[in-house]
Symmetry: C3
Subunit: 169 residues, 3 copies
């Protein structure tokens, strides 16, 4: 039997679980980074605003780490982020994300499902944790995103502060 | 400290928060409405059913207003709807939506995240509020959609009655 | 008045509702199966990994049944699954889903909204039920997926064990 019991935070100040993770997106550049790339554009930007990539939808299976560096050698990342984002604004870069954090380590097994607007003009912005499975059964909460690195067109790194307010423990 | 406390409705008749908003979609027509368009097709309809746009995926950053008219002049909309929809049916028009309502006004700051089937053949249809941030921290509920206007291929307006049943107040 | 009251499971062992359903995906093959196809690729696989369909996004409006066979003749399916999936991995087949189960029968009216990673390499994998409407008002839970059939490129069938842990009854 599963002995876990439901725990709901009584205040936004008191999450039942907190984690900080780093999301690394290495976008396929069309040929030179095939071995390293972990995401690829499934659609092209539209003519409505080519310069801000409006309409470009990127599918990813990105490494997620506990420290803000890419895994070295055969190091296994803490999780994979599987999902997609697209750019949606004419005036500036702005994105929308939906994805799963997939954990399969000795520490954690299970998934966390997230979605929301990545308001890239803001220093930090919040998206929703809308569900979870396995160790994160029925999780809900918030992930606060911060751009931790942006290197040209083909690499960015997001710091994700994940705070759960509904847990089974 | 954040003094808000969790409030859960005991009955479907008693939402903890209600709002009516209007969602305006102005689709890019390929060249003539670049200045006004707030959405664009990232994919073309498929040959499975070109006439019902099956497979056309539209990315949007649409104005959302309190009254059922577009913002006039420099008037700031109540929110932006950032997300996407696509058409998915052979026999008739039918869509699926996922998006964030992004509020950044004196009245509200924060986001509401929604997803669900837009059963366009029904006079009203419900989608899910699956999460929220800021003023809408951890929100859940229902949005009832009604087509309020449909003008040719490039403009539609949805009335959204948003009813939250989980709030922090 | 709506006399339903909120019910939350106290343990992962005790869902407030359980259902087993079968999801049938018949992918459009480009011409020969137009009458039967219920899904279509809106994007092509990317060059990052053509062989695992990475980047192919499929829009669907698929029949969902109580037994593991397609509806026969004029038999009406138990529900429709409306949404999309895409493939996201270089090394093997792996997908990500977001969709609505749309019920419109004498037994059930309403929708269940789901999202999550379909880890195709696992015998079973869990995705999240993130919301519901109508008979499934404010539902949350888990759907356990199992590949029940895989016939060439154009048909697969998933068994979905849906377990809700938040219900209004």
């Amino acid at each position: 039997a599963d002995g876990r019991r439901r725990l709901v935070s009584s205040s936004p100040d008191e999450p039942c679980k907190k984690m900080t993770l780093y999301f690394h997106d290495i976008l396929y550049d069309g040929g030179n980074n095939t071995a390293n790339a972990t995401s690829a554009a499934a659609t092209n930007p539209t003519a409505l605003s080519n310069s801000t990539y409006l309409g470009m939808l990127v599918v990813f299976n990105d490494p997620v780490t506990e420290r803000n560096v890419l895994p070295v050698g055969k190091e296994v990342p803490a999780a994979r982020a599987q999902g997609f984002y697209f750019y949606d604004k004419k005036e500036s870069f702005n994105a929308w994300f939906a994805f799963s954090l997939v954990f399969n380590s000795t520490e954690h097994k299970g998934t966390i499902n997230l979605m929301g607007a990545d308001l890239m003009g803001e220093k930090t912005r919040d998206i929703s944790v809308v569900g979870g499975t396995g160790d994160f059964f029925m999780a809900r909460g918030i992930a606060t995103l911060r751009t931790d690195a942006l290197e040209g067109l083909y690499y960015f790194r997001l710091q994700m502060d994940i705070k759960l307010y509904e847990c089974y423990v």
